[in-house]
């Protein structure tokens, strides 16, 4: 294992040849898996052990050591053990080469949870499933290897993410729900402190909408006040009073267009506040949701009609009459672009533009449903009703995971990017952490807003919660709410004008057709068994 200190000196040429041999060993291409079938007991191809001349170096299996709680420099995995730099080249340097050993041979282990996050489903067991031809089986196995490699690489690249999530740790003995916004504001830096602000306006209960990259904000007051502004710099993009009642506001695909649901019809305005369209087909709209990947503006109606409007072409994709009464509770599931509506009979129904009837109808409460929210990953759904109950549902199995009893009926609920749930009850806004996975007893944060809350939205990529109420709006700091690391190819808060234009064109080219909206977004990747069977039967009909 370790070479004795008094090793004999070798001639320079020999030493150099072993060095090149070591080099060659380092860059050996990995063997194919199927060829290693017989050598299953062998340890993984260790490319970094240095074989001393004539001596066999025993390899050690890399022990998985969790990196949780470790400071960066302790027990760092020495993946590339370089020989120490010596003044003399040649013999002595090479000898040092031979004596040093890599204490952590092989690649650094990846924590299982991180790897699971990046996996896209189970790997196919190709030996058992019926792949008749060996060449096809080998081909598919190679593909599986590539997939595995990609997953590995993505999991490893997490180390490069620049930001960390926010957190809030109370003093010993206290709990976080007793911490006020003032306290938080005074404890953080100036930039973050400016994100907590209050606007008092007198134009009625306000509805709020944040732009997809968290940069700009749109507020719409019931009495007709509509304003779009950059909420960080407080720079106003446009402000107007539409002289009509405004029920909901929504940004379209970027900051150049937004839609306002006014008293009779829906209007679309430019970022300068110029009215661009008046859409008479979307009449008496109560709630609006924009589906960003499909460029669809989904609206619910006073008379129970759900409409999907393609804003890139101006075409009405579908209008369904739900026959379920007034629809004033709407939420969209970001995972599969399905709309969830809550009804006065306590049911929640899910709609796609491809079917006339709801794809899912769940009985959630006994009393009318007041609010519905679906989290970012599309796994959990939170519903609240008039009878002060709040329930968490699993959207894969449609089971009720948690059931809570609140102080009073929650009028608005919304999920943040990291799974925090904000609930507004009357004047109070409460934020809950880990509500879906565990049964919790206390809120994470509480805030007393002066008047009854009418709009509640988390700002994407920021630790901020926007609350619209009867006398204006207020912006709360909620540490740990926003996703710290954005993907610039999805939504970039630091977008320049040229980047915005390019993104607009690219996303229009990749606009998903509304026919592809299904409950299971990965259905497209699966084989349509029925049609394959039909084709096969037709082909082999006259085969002898």
């Amino acid at each position: 294992m370790s070479s004795p200190k008094g090793s004999e000196k070798k001639p320079a040429s020999e030493v150099r040849s072993t060095a090149t041999q070591n080099l060659k060993k380092k860059f050996k291409p990995p063997k194919d898996e199927h060829l290693l079938r017989k050598t299953k007991n062998k340890k993984p191809n260790n490319t970094f052990t240095k074989k001393a001349e004539g001596r066999v170096v025993k390899r050690q299996l890399p022990k998985f050591k969790s990196s949780h709680g470790k400071t960066p420099n302790s027990g760092a995995v020495q993946k590339f053990s370089r020989p120490p730099k010596t003044g003399q080249k040649g013999k002595e340097g090479a000898q040092d080469d031979q004596t040093e050993e890599d204490p952590f041979p092989g690649d650094a282990p990846i924590p299982h949870a991180r790897l699971q996050k990046h996996k896209r489903g189970k790997a196919e067991d190709l030996d058992k499933n019926g792949v008749t031809f060996l060449s096809n089986r080998i081909h598919l196995k190679k593909k599986e290897k590539l997939v595995k490699y990609a997953v590995n690489l993505a999991a490893r690249s997490e180390i490069l993410l620049p930001e960390e999530t926010g957190f809030l740790e109370p003093a010993k003995g206290d709990c976080t729900s007793e911490i006020t916004q003032v306290q938080i504001k005074s404890s953080v830096d100036i930039t973050s402190a400016t994100k907590q602000f209050d606007l008092s306006m007198q134009f009625g209960p306000y509805a709020i909408n944040y732009l997809r990259n968290g940069r700009k904000m749109l507020i719409g007051g019931r009495m007709g006040h509509v304003a779009a502004f950059d909420w960080v710099t407080k720079q106003l993009t446009c402000e107007m009073n539409v002289m009509e009642s405004v029920h909901d506001v929504a940004w379209l695909h970027n900051e150049t267009l937004f839609a306002v649901a006014q008293k009779e019809w829906t209007y679309i305005y430019d970022n300068q506040g110029i009215e661009v369209h008046c859409i008479k087909k979307l009449n008496n709209v109560l709630r609006m949701e924009f589906l960003p990947y499909h460029f669809l503006l989904a609206t619910t109606n006073d008379s129970g009609t759900l409409s999907w409007l393609d804003v890139s072409m101006g075409k009405m994709v579908k209008r369904t009459h739900t026959h379920l009464g007034r629809l004033d509770v709407l939420c969209h599931n970001p995972r599969n672009a399905v709309l969830c509506c809550g009804h006065s009979k306590g049911t929640v129904s899910m709609w796609t533009p491809n079917f006339v009837s709801p794809v899912v109808k769940m009985l959630c409460h006994t009393q009318p449903v007041r609010s519905v929210a679906v989290d970012q990953s599309g796994v959990y759904m939170a519903t609240s009703s008039i009878d002060c109950s709040l329930k968490i549902w699993d959207l894969r199995t449609y089971n009720c995971l948690q059931s809570y009893k609140l102080g009073c009926g929650a009028s608005n609920i919304t999920f943040s990017q990291r799974g925090l749930l904000a609930v507004s009850m009357g004047n109070i806004v409460e934020v809950y952490k880990d509500i879906c996975t565990e049964t919790i007893h206390k809120p994470y944060l509480k805030h007393f807003v002066g008047s009854s809350v009418s709009g509640l939205k988390f700002c994407p990529y920021e630790d901020v919660l926007g609350v619209g109420h009867a006398r204006g709006m207020c912006s709360m700091l909620v540490p740990g709410a926003g996703e710290p690391n954005f993907d610039a190819l999805e939504s970039n808060p630091f977008q320049t004008k040229s980047q915005r234009r390019e993104t607009e064109v690219k996303s229009l080219l990749e606009k998903i057709q509304p026919e592809l909206i299904t409950l299971d977004p990965f259905e497209l990747g699966e084989v349509n068994r029925q049609s394959v069977i039909e084709k096969f039967e037709e082909k082999t009909r006259y085969m002898v």
């Binding site: 400071t71 996050k117 990046h118 896209r120 690249s157 997490e158 993410l161 930001e163 960390e164 926010g166 957190f167 809030l168 740790e169 109370p170 003093a171 010993k172 206290d174 911490i179 306290q183 938080i184 404890s187 953080v188 830096d189 930039t191 973050s192 994100k195 990947y293 970001p334 995972r335 599969n336 672009a337 970012q376 990953s377 599309g378 990529y461 920021e462 630790d463 700091l477 540490p479 926003g482 996703e483 710290p484 690391n485 954005f486 993907d487 190819l489 999805e490 630091f494 320049t496 990749e510 998903i512 592809l516 977004p521 990965f522 497209l524 990747g525 049609s531 006259y542 085969m543 002898v544």
Partner: protein
């Protein structure tokens, strides 16, 4: 108490170490009696480019939660990719004009990738510089047809055979093709000559005509003659990997295999119709493809001649010539139905079809040795240059563009079984005579199959089932 203090100090230091990463937020002393808070804050300097001449910064996060709807988005991108591929599928590059009679054969040389030799029916041999689309040299090689052109890698000579029963040896090394003016050597043979093929490493040539003869260019008589039956041979080729094996197509509908070292031919397989041309796979040692008169091409493994490996069908008239790509994965076939088809070596149907209104009966096809171009020679005295991959961009491709093209190709491959994408990818405009002929042939085939099925289900004593592949073979002889 000291221990506690020490512990607190250590904790404090640890905390400081971690807090050092967030310079903007106030570092609170690691005191349990105070709360700790960190709110997400981003320094714009980390996310914006420094100068106008830099590229924009693009931080990435590959978390699948941030990328919803992956399958529909990829599908849409694949759809766009396949449509763009069809938009850019312009395979015709140009036409080499100059011969005064129909083309009869094409020849390639590995030393100059942009050179092409062409032999015409009036005996003219032309050397073309394909990149500049002009003739480098013209020489009257033979009296009568130039039947075959072959370049010997071993001795770097060019050999041509013609209807005047001569084998001519040419030297062609000068950059302007001037040394092609006169042949270096001429061998007068007694009989008809239809094809020639040089050995890969030895200075031996094989010609076919009435029989298969092996020549050495210094001798005036063949060093060996193989004879089997009395019929003539159309085409002969040496195997480039297994260097001593030859294959030839005979006019008695047979394909004959020879080993140069033996004294008699090895074996023979008789098909239902005559084969026009033969080509060995340059990468696989034992695979060859024949172009047959029954509108198909057959790929055989020379070790097992009783059943072809593959039957490549799609042509609507006799297939005249076949040539493999230097990668060995694809081949091109020229047919009497005025079209050129490209096949994947393992697929039964063509992946692409090239045709022009002006291109009449084809006589020869070649795949350039850099795997990028296809040459087709036809009856109307023109050689046409086509791209091997119709949507490929010629010229300088920048790295980002290259990546984008590769991503598109991979996306198409991933979704190629989806009906819409498959439909767009396979769609080709086909000349009307081909379209009608294809439908006719297809209905005939379906009818034949249905009839056979009916006969089988209603007879008591049944003949053994022969697979479609084997049906073309009549017998195998040794």
């Amino acid at each position: 108490m000291d221990k506690d203090m020490l512990k607190k100090q250590i904790e404090n230091m640890k905390f400081q170490a971690t807090m050092e990463r967030w310079p903007l937020s106030k570092s609170i002393a690691a005191d349990d009696s105070k709360m700790k808070v960190k709110v997400l804050v981003r320094n714009p300097d980390d996310y914006l480019r420094e100068t106008k001449r830099d590229i924009h910064k693009l931080p990435r996060n590959y978390d699948p939660a941030l990328h919803p709807l992956e399958a529909p988005r990829e599908y849409t991108r694949a759809l766009n990719a396949v449509k763009l591929e069809r938009v850019f599928a312009l395979p015709f590059i140009g036409c080499l004009d100059g011969h005064r009679d129909g083309l009869s054969c094409l020849g390639k040389t590995p030393d100059h990738l942009s050179w092409l030799y062409s032999g015409a029916c009036d005996g003219e041999l032309k050397l073309w510089d394909v990149a500049k689309r002009r003739v480098l040299c013209t020489v009257q090689a033979h009296d009568g047809f130039v039947r075959a052109i072959a370049y010997s890698q071993e001795s770097s000579f060019l050999y041509t055979v013609g209807d005047d029963k001569l084998i001519k040896q040419w030297k062609s090394e000068a950059e302007d093709g001037s040394d092609l003016k006169a042949p270096v050597n001429t061998i007068l043979t007694g009989g008809m000559l239809t094809g020639i093929s040089p050995h890969r490493s030895k200075p031996i040539l094989a010609t076919c005509g009435e029989a298969c003869n092996l020549w050495e260019h210094t001798r005036a008589q063949p060093i060996k003659t193989f004879q089997w039956g009395v019929d003539s041979l159309q085409s002969i080729k040496f195997n480039q990997v297994e260097e001593n094996i030859l294959a030839a197509c005979g006019s008695d509908r047979s394909i004959i295999l020879y080993d140069m070292r033996e004294s008699v031919p090895l074996r023979k397989v008789v098909l239902k119709m005559r084969s026009n041309s033969i080509c060995w796979n340059p990468m696989e040692a034992f695979i060859f493809t024949v172009a047959n008169e029954d509108y198909n091409l057959y790929t055989f493994d020379m070790r097992n001649l009783n059943s072809p490996l593959n039957v490549h069908s799609d042509h609507v008239s006799a297939v005249i010539d076949v040539d493999y790509s230097p990668t060995g994965k694809e081949f091109v076939s020229a047919s009497y139905d005025k079209t050129v088809r490209i096949y994947d070596a393992r697929q039964a149907h063509s992946r692409d079809i090239y045709h022009t209104k002006r291109m009449q009966r084809l006589t020869c096809a070649a795949w350039s040795l850099d795997d990028r171009f296809i040459f087709s020679g036809s009856d109307e005295m023109n050689i046409r240059i086509w791209k091997a991959r119709a949507a490929e961009k010629l010229g300088v491709v920048k790295p980002r563009e290259k990546t984008a093209l590769r991503v598109n190709a991979k996306l198409i491959e991933k979704f190629e079984h989806h009906p819409h994408i498959k439909k767009i990818q396979r769609h080709r405009h086909v000349p009307k005579h081909v379209y009608n002929a294809r439908n006719e042939l297809r209905s005939g085939r379906i009818a034949a199959r249905r009839k056979e099925f009916n006969v089988r289900t209603h007879t008591k004593r049944q003949k053994p089932i022969i697979s479609e592949k084997v049906k073309a073979i009549v017998s195998e002889q040794q």
